[in-house]
């Protein structure tokens, strides 16, 4: 095993930055703080890139590169180590995390320039980087869980960054608690694994899972573990039914929304499922659940997204639905597709959020799209990059989103044994909706006549503390946007399907990313689940034909999805550009449904009534507090105290304070002891 990779540095550099800023940042100037934060992140990114180069030259025998640095827990037969586990999957992840993370750090320097708690923000951000990288690089589920919880903590801290705002504090709490529920599932899954294998190291677990029989007890075991892990993933990646925390998480500063709640952290669930592909692929039922949940979430969130007016909320819901896509991909055992989409999504969603942030910045904190419009003249750069992002996510050909999303849809349709046309259908529908609400956002923000309120447009002053007139963001914010825009264009060329290979530029040939990721996540489900192909010439011929037919079909489906996107675009164009009066009419027509959707199907209220209220009122208030705490524990304590008092009141006279009396008692005791010893001696 080659030891020349110092992977441990990749997470620890940001940690160091976090420590320095967290402990001494208060004394530093903003310049120094940002210097430290950027330096640590940049170094981490550089190291990741270098690792990638080394990785290219590494003999296949060394992959996955697994190394334990120090023992962490040694309890009986159980041992957990501080170790790193680098394979194609985690490599892609660290590149995405450090890269996007670095860009967003840069952006934040401009965005947060006028905020209080500057050092705090960057310290948290670096802390998040540390935990995220730990999560990605961990060599066992346990260490991954540390990162898992850590990112939860970081996101809690950052959502509640404006802790003086109640809504922010509550949003933080909500995120934390909802995540707990998911983590609970994750934990139980890990317990099951420990109970079965006695360890949580990937090597061991995966190798043993791979040759467990697929029927009887072990199948049930695998399904259970997979489902429990899925629960965890749902919590972290905001899938149904645990997605509710993510929209509220937008209370945090926009860079946070971009980094944590769009690009990286929320994808942890996807990463975890992909990482556990060995388990999932051998639990078909669980996979189906994953697929259904993912798809449902995608559709559901997309519909909500249509009716939101807060620009960041729209993006939040689109994030949820995109995550749904990724789960759909996982659910059809197309993990590489999921990771591919994860990557492209990281690019364009970060781009979208950041440019949304830039818009908000320009409007001095205004987030409601109904108070925007006609901004494309005023902030051309933002407009440009936002456009790229919008088209990318809407799935316009030649842009990143198109390739990854279609890849997923195609897999959803075509993957033998898992794929199904219904999955594809809903997927396409969702794609159309996505296109609609994204363009709706685009039109409402940048076109039409300005609906910007006077106080902002002319001479308002705001929490950002500078002149209110609409203004383009500084370059330190625009530069990352441009880079991300470029990425969201070319990012897709990593995974161009064969059929389009002739028509579009590619990087590393068609399906490069799939071939790259194949060793880590398994290229096609055939390998595990299906009978091998026939060998005979005839069979080959039929295979040829099948190939032909498949290509035609794939072409058709791609066309369909593009069409869906186009429809979405046209609809948005019609409603929010041509006939801006139409929306009111329509909504008044279908008022009930509209309100329902606008209020996010009142899911929060539902949960409130179903879980929160009973919990707080019955269990906490009545049972825990009134009965157990007051009723039982306090009485016990008081009675004990009273009893002791009574006892001492009777016996206190022994304590005469006279040494000689004490000596008398001591002598008595000594006599007793000696008597006992003599008696023992006589036995």
């Amino acid at each position: 095993m080659s030891d020349h990779l110092h992977l441990w540095l990749i997470p620890l550099l940001p940690l160091a930055g976090a420590f320095i800023n967290g402990l001494f940042g208060r004394r530093f100037s903003n310049r120094v703080v940002s210097a430290i934060a950027l330096a640590s992140t940049a170094a981490s990114f550089g190291l990741a890139a270098w690792t990638a180069m080394q990785f290219a030259h590494m003999p296949a025998s060394d992959i996955p590169y697994h190394r334990d640095y120090a023992p962490w827990i040694i309890a009986g037969g159980f041992q957990a180590d501080f170790g790193v586990y680098l394979d194609q999957l985690s490599l892609v992840m660290i590149l995405v995390v450090t890269g996007v993370g670095f860009l967003i750090h840069v952006y934040s320097v401009g965005y947060m320039a006028h905020e209080g708690g500057y050092y705090r923000f960057f310290s948290y951000l670096n802390l998040f980087m540390f935990f995220m990288l730990t999560l990605v690089l961990a060599s066992s589920y346990l260490l991954m869980f540390v990162g898992w919880e850590g990112v939860g903590l970081a996101s809690y801290l950052l959502i509640g960054f404006y802790f003086h705002k109640d809504s922010a504090a509550n949003a933080g709490k909500k995120a934390f608690i909802v995540n707990r529920i998911g983590d609970f599932g994750f934990l139980i899954g890990m317990f099951l694994l420990i109970q079965k294998f006695g360890t949580l190291n990937y090597d061991y677990v995966f190798s043993h899972v791979a040759n467990m029989p697929l029927e009887g007890h072990s199948a049930g075991f695998l399904t259970a573990v997979a489902l429990l892990l899925m629960v965890g993933a749902c919590g972290k990646s905001a899938q149904l039914p645990l997605y509710v925390w993510l929209p509220d998480a937008m209370e945090g500063p926009t860079p946070v929304s971009a980094l944590i709640h769009a690009a990286t952290m929320v994808t942890a669930g996807v990463y975890m499922v992909a990482r556990s592909n060995a388990i999932f692929s051998r639990a078909p039922l669980a996979l189906t659940v994953v697929a259904v949940v993912g798809l449902a979430t995608a559709f559901f969130a997309a519909t909500i997204g249509m009716a939101q007016n807060d620009i960041k909320r729209v993006l939040a819901y689109s994030t949820i639905s995109q995550l749904g896509y990724m789960f759909l991909a996982c659910g059809v055992a197309a993990y590489s597709a999921a990771i591919f989409h994860l990557m492209t999504h990281a690019f364009f969603k970060a781009l979208l959020f950041l440019s949304a942030g830039s818009v908000i910045h320009a409007l001095s904190g205004e987030q409601d799209m109904r108070h925007m419009g006609g901004l494309r003249k005023k902030i051309p750069w933002t407009f440009a990059v936002m456009t790229v992002g919008t088209f990318a996510i809407a799935g316009t050909p030649y842009l990143a989103g198109f390739y990854s999303k279609d890849d997923i849809l195609w897999k959803a349709y075509s993957t033998p044994f898992y794929g199904h046309w219904s999955l594809w259908l809903v997927g396409v529908l969702t794609a159309g909706i996505t296109a609609f609400y994204m363009f709706r956002l685009w039109f409402m923000t940048f076109f039409g006549e300005s609906r910007v309120p006077e106080h902002v447009d002319e001479h308002g002053h705001d929490e950002h503390g500078h002149g209110g007139h609409v203004h383009e963001s500084p370059w330190v914010m625009l530069a990352p946007l441009v880079i991300l825009a470029a990425l969201s264009i070319i990012g897709g060329y990593l995974g161009v399907p064969e059929i389009l290979a002739k028509a579009t530029p590619t990087i590393g040939g068609p399906d490069a990313i799939h071939h790259f990721l194949a060793p880590a996540v398994g290229s096609e489900p055939e390998e595990h689940a299906l009978p091998p192909k026939a060998e005979s010439a005839a069979a080959l011929a039929t295979a040829e034909h099948a190939q032909e037919a498949e290509h035609k079909m794939e072409m058709m489906l791609t066309g369909a999805s593009v069409a869906a996107a186009l429809i979405g675009f046209l609809l948005a164009w019609l409603l929010y550009w041509q006939r801006t009066d139409l929306p009111e009419k329509i909504t008044s027509q279908i008022g009930g449904v509209y309100r329902l959707v606008r209020d996010k199907y009142r899911i929060d209220e539902l949960y409130g009534h179903l879980f929160v209220k009973p919990l707080v009122e019955n269990i906490s208030t009545n049972l825990l507090w009134k009965q157990i705490d007051v009723g039982t524990i306090d009485t016990l304590v008081n009675d004990a105290a009273a009893g002791a008092q009574e006892l001492s009141r009777r016996t206190r006279r022994m304590q005469s304070g006279n040494i000689r009396s004490y000596a008398g008692w001591v002598a008595l005791g000594a006599a007793a002891v000696v008597a006992f010893m003599v008696w023992m001696g006589m036995q």
Partner: protein, 100 residues
């Protein structure tokens, strides 16, 4: 040859006399002397056994006992002086505030 038990009985007697002193004397200094007496009795036991078993380590323990006794004497007498300064008496029956 003197049987070991003679020495042991002697030390037992001395020890008990020390305890008796602690019980019946009123003067704190005398009580303190009784404690020293007990310690000496213990030392005698140590030495007797070391002679009996030809084990020198017992005598080493005698040293430790002496060290403790010396330290105790220093601190204890200092305490006695402090007590005497504060209440002009050495009678332990008059020094009994350590109670509820």
């Amino acid at each position: 040859m003197v049987p070991l038990s003679y020495y042991l009985v002697l030390s037992a007697v001395l020890f008990c006399l020390g305890v008796a002193g602690f019980l019946i004397k009123r003067n704190v200094i005398t009580i303190f002397m009784s404690i020293e007496l007990m310690l000496n009795a213990v030392n005698l036991t140590f030495v007797a056994f070391s002679a009996q078993l030809h084990k020198l380590s017992a005598q080493v323990f005698v040293f430790f006992v002496m060290v403790v006794a010396a330290a105790e004497a220093a601190v204890g007498l200092a305490i006695i002086i402090a007590i005497f300064r504060s209440r002009q008496t050495l009678n332990v029956d008059k020094v009994d505030l350590l109670k509820l």
